[in-house]
C-alpha cells in the first residue's frame, strides 16, 4: 500500500520559496531536477561539498558576482554574464578557464520557469566557453531581501605558456587596441530599465573572449603586455587604472573609437559618456608597436573582433593621465568616473 501525505512538499507550485533554500528535501529536489540533471558531469554527479581535480603548472583564479536587473535584456541574460564574465576575467590574466563554481542567491518568489531559463543559458554559455561547472551553492532569501536572482561564479584555469601579462611591462610607444565597439552592454541594459524603455536595436555584447586571447597569445606571446575587459566603469576606467599603475600616459583619439551609431545616439539622448558605459564582450589590449598592425589584423579576422581598432598610444607625457584628442582636434583629460553616471535634467 502506498500512503501519500496530503501535505504538499513543494509549497507553492511554479515559484521558488524559502523551503528551497532550507537544505532539506526541497533543496535536494530543486538541485536534482533543475541543476544537476541539466549541467550533468562527473563532479556534480558526486553531489559532494566540493570538487577535486588535479592541476599542473601556473593557474589563474578569479571570482565575480552578477546582480544585473532586469535578468533578461537584449542580447543576453544574467546566466550568460555569469559564465562569460568569469571566463573573461581569467582570459585577461592570459588563462583559459577550465573549472567554474556556480552559486545562486535567489529571492523568494522567483518563478521556477525563469530560473530554468537562466540555467539553460548557463549551460549553453559554459559549453561555448569549454568550461565545466564543478561545484556550487543555492541560497534563498526572503522577499524584499534580494532582487530576483544574484549569481556568483569563481573560475580557475591554466595560464597560456606564452602569456606575460603585467602592467609593468608597458613602455611608452606601446599601442592601445580595443577589440570591438564600446558601450553596447550598458546601453542595452538602459534600454530596458523600468521607466526608461526606448526603442533601439542595441544588444549587449556579452561573449567569451578566451579564444580571442588564446589566438593572440599563440601568435604574439609576450608582445601582448596588458589585457583588460572594460566592464563596469567602461573603457575610461580601465585606461585610468593602467596609467595610474604604470605612471605613464595614454593619448587616445576620439575619431578612432569604435562606437555603434545607435549606441552613440542613445548615449547622446541620456547624456551619458560612452567611455564610461559598461561592456561585456570586448577587451583592451596594450601591445608592442611593432606588432600592433598584425594584432589588429588578427583581431579583425576573429568572430567578435571585426570592429577592432587602434585607439591610442602609451606616452611618457602627462604621466598617470588619459588624454583624448577630440574629433575637432582639441584635448581633454578623461578621468575616473566619480560614482554612478546619472542621466541629466536637460
Amino acid at each position: 500500500m502506498n500512503v501519500n501525505c496530503p501535505l504538499p512538499v513543494n509549497g507553492v507550485p511554479g515559484i521558488i520559496t524559502l523551503g528551497h533554500g532550507s537544505g532539506g528535501l526541497m533543496t535536494h529536489q530543486l538541485l536534482q531536477t533543475e541543476v544537476f540533471d541539466l549541467l550533468q558531469n562527473d563532479w556534480l554527479d558526486q553531489q559532494h561539498d566540493g570538487a577535486t581535480f588535479s592541476l599542473n603548472g601556473k593557474v589563474a583564479f578569479s571570482t565575480d558576482s552578477y546582480v544585473v536587473s532586469p535578468l533578461f535584456f537584449p542580447g543576453g541574460n544574467i546566466g550568460d554574464l555569469a559564465i562569460n564574465g568569469t571566463v573573461n576575467d581569467l582570459a585577461m590574466c592570459g588563462a583559459m578557464a577550465r573549472y567554474l563554481s556556480l552559486s545562486f542567491i535567489i529571492e523568494e518568489g522567483l518563478e521556477l520557469s525563469l530560473f530554468r531559463e537562466v540555467l539553460k543559458h548557463i549551460k549553453a554559455a559554459a559549453q561555448a566557453a569549454g568550461v565545466a561547472i564543478v561545484t556550487g551553492d543555492t541560497k534563498v532569501v526572503e522577499r524584499g531581501k534580494g532582487d530576483q536572482l544574484f549569481i556568483n561564479t569563481s573560475g580557475i584555469g591554466h595560464i597560456h605558456p606564452r602569456a606575460a601579462i603585467h602592467h609593468n611591462r608597458i613602455v611608452p610607444g606601446d599601442v592601445v587596441i580595443v577589440s570591438g565597439e564600446i558601450a553596447a552592454h550598458g546601453m542595452a541594459i538602459m534600454s530596458v530599465r523600468k521607466g526608461l524603455e526606448f526603442e533601439t536595436e542595441v544588444c549587449s555584447d556579452t561573449r567569451p573572449l578566451h579564444e580571442m586571447v588564446g589566438k593572440l597569445l599563440d601568435c604574439f606571446g609576450e608582445q601582448v603586455k596588458f589585457l583588460r575587459d572594460p566592464t563596469r566603469g567602461g573603457l575610461a576606467s580601465v585606461l585610468n587604472e593602467m596609467t595610474e599603475a604604470t605612471k605613464l600616459g595614454v593619448m587616445m583619439n576620439e575619431v578612432s573609437l569604435p562606437l555603434n551609431e545607435q549606441v552613440a545616439a542613445a548615449c547622446e539622448m541620456l547624456g551619458l559618456d560612452p567611455l564610461y558605459v559598461a561592456n561585456e564582450g570586448i577587451m583592451v589590449a596594450v601591445v608592442s608597436a611593432s606588432v600592433a598592425p598584425s594584432v589588429l589584423g588578427a583581431l579583425r579576422g576573429m568572430k567578435g573582433g571585426e570592429q577592432a581598432a587602434i585607439i591610442g598610444t602609451v606616452t611618457k607625457e602627462h604621466a598617470g593621465k588619459v588624454v583624448l584628442e577630440s574629433r575637432i582636434g582639441g584635448h581633454r583629460v578623461v578621468n575616473f568616473l566619480p560614482g554612478e553616471q546619472l542621466p541629466r535634467i536637460c
Binding site: 521607466g195 577630440s326 574629433r327 582639441g330 566619480p338 553616471q341 546619472l342
Partner: protein, 362 residues
C-alpha cells in the same frame, strides 16, 4: 547622427576658428549661459583653441547648480516623510543640501526614484494610491512645460496624491542680475539654445538694448558654439548689440506656443533664491493658486530654516563670471565630485565638474 555629426565636422570647426582669429582684434569676455554649452566647450577642448583675446566665462545655466540649499533641504525633508515617493531627475540626487544629499537619503531607506519625465510620476501616483508622490520640478524654462503638463494631467485625471516641489529658474532675469552688477565683466552672451526653443528670442531684445550687449542664441555642438562665438565677437568688433539666432534649426523667434501655454496655465512668475547668487526678483516659477493642491510646499506645509552655503564655495563668483573654477582654493582639494562643497562640482553640467573632469591637467 543627423543634426549632430554635421556640427562636429572638423573642417567646419576649422573654418569658424580661422574666421574668428581674423575678426578678433581686442580682448572680449563672453559668457555662455548654459551648462551644456560649458561642458561641450571643455569636453571638445575648444577653450584652448580660441584666440587668446577671447575669455569665456561660464554662466548660471545649470539648474542643478543654482538650486538653493534651502530647496534641497525641502526635497530631503519630503523624501524622508513616511508614505512619500519622492521622484527626481537623476543629476539632482548627488547635490548636497545642508546635511546630506538625496542619494544619502535613498541609501538610508527613503523612497527616492529617478524618473525621466514628470508624466511618469503621475502614473506612479495612480499606481500607488496609498502613497503621496512628489516630483522635484527643477530646471529652466526647458523643463517647465512637461512639469506643468504633469499638473494639468493630474488635475484632469483626478489624481489627488500627486504634487510637485517647484524650483524653476528663468534665464533672462539672471542675465539682467549679472549685467546690472556694478562689477560686471561680460561683453556678450551666448544664450541657451534649448531654453529659447521653448521661449523664443523676443525676451532678450530689451536686455540687449538696455545693456548694449550682443546676445546670440547658440546650440551645443562644437561648430554651433564656434559660430555663436564668432557672431558675438563680430558684433562686438563692429559695435552692434542685437539678438541673433545661431540655433535657427531648433529655435523660432516666437518660441513654442503650446509649451508656453502649459507653463502659463500652471505657473506664476515668482522671486527665486539662486545658489551662490542670492534672491533674484521674478526669476522663477511657482505653482499658481488655482493648482495649489499640487504644490508640495503647501500640501505638506513645509517650513524649514533658511540655510547658508558652505563659505568656501565660490560658485556665485563663478556663475557671475568673476572667477574660473581653478581659481577656487577648494577646487580639486576640499571640493571634488565625490565630495562636492557646492553644486557646480556635482552636476554633470556644472562648470567646476567640467573643469575637474576634462581639464585637470591638459
Amino acid at each position: 547622427m543627423k543634426y549632430i555629426s554635421e556640427y562636429r565636422d572638423p573642417q567646419l570647426v576649422k573654418k569658424y576658428l580661422h574666421e574668428l582669429y581674423r575678426v578678433t582684434t581686442r580682448p572680449w569676455t563672453l559668457m555662455e549661459i548654459c551648462g551644456g554649452q560649458t561642458h561641450s566647450l571643455v569636453k571638445n577642448g575648444l577653450l584652448d583653441m580660441l584666440p587668446p583675446q577671447i575669455n569665456m566665462v561660464h554662466g548660471p545655466g545649470c539648474p542643478v547648480c543654482v538650486t538653493s540649499v534651502s530647496v534641497l533641504d525641502e526635497a530631503l525633508w519630503l523624501a524622508q516623510q513616511p508614505d512619500v515617493i519622492f521622484c527626481s531627475f537623476g543629476d539632482m540626487l548627488r547635490v548636497p543640501g545642508s546635511s546630506q544629499s538625496l542619494l544619502h537619503a535613498k541609501a538610508a531607506g527613503a523612497d527616492v526614484r529617478i524618473l525621466y519625465s514628470p508624466l511618469e510620476a503621475v502614473q506612479l501616483a495612480i499606481d500607488n494610491p496609498t502613497k503621496e508622490v512628489v516630483f522635484f520640478a527643477v530646471g529652466f524654462e526647458t523643463t517647465a512645460p512637461a512639469n506643468a503638463l504633469s499638473v494639468v494631467q493630474a488635475a484632469a485625471r483626478g489624481v489627488s496624491n500627486y504634487s510637485i516641489l517647484a524650483s524653476h529658474v528663468l534665464v533672462p532675469p539672471a542675465m539682467e542680475a549679472i549685467l546690472g552688477d556694478p562689477d560686471n565683466v561680460i561683453d556678450g552672451f551666448l544664450a541657451a539654445g534649448h531654453v529659447c526653443t521653448i521661449m523664443g528670442t523676443t525676451e532678450y531684445d530689451p536686455i540687449a538694448l538696455k545693456y548694449k550687449v550682443p546676445i546670440v542664441v547658440t546650440g551645443f555642438e562644437p561648430a554651433d558654439l564656434l559660430q555663436g562665438i564668432l557672431m558675438t565677437v563680430s558684433q562686438l568688433e563692429k559695435g552692434t548689440y542685437r539678438v541673433e539666432n545661431q540655433y535657427a534649426r531648433m529655435v523660432a523667434r516666437e518660441g513654442n506656443a503650446m509649451a508656453m501655454k502649459a507653463i502659463h496655465e500652471v505657473f506664476d512668475v515668482s522671486n527665486r533664491m539662486w545658489r551662490g547668487i542670492g534672491t533674484i526678483p521674478d526669476s522663477g516659477y511657482e505653482v499658481k493658486d488655482a493648482y495649489k493642491q499640487y504644490n508640495a510646499r503647501l500640501k505638506f506645509n513645509i517650513h524649514l530654516p533658511v540655510r547658508e552655503e558652505d563659505p568656501d564655495c565660490i560658485s556665485g563668483d563663478i556663475m557671475r563670471g568673476h572667477k574660473k573654477p581653478v581659481q577656487c582654493p577648494a577646487f580639486g582639494g576640499r571640493c571634488r565630485p565625490e565630495h562636492p562643497l557646492g553644486a557646480p562640482m556635482v552636476s554633470s553640467e556644472g562648470a567646476c565638474a567640467a573643469y575637474y573632469q576634462y581639464k585637470s591637467s591638459v
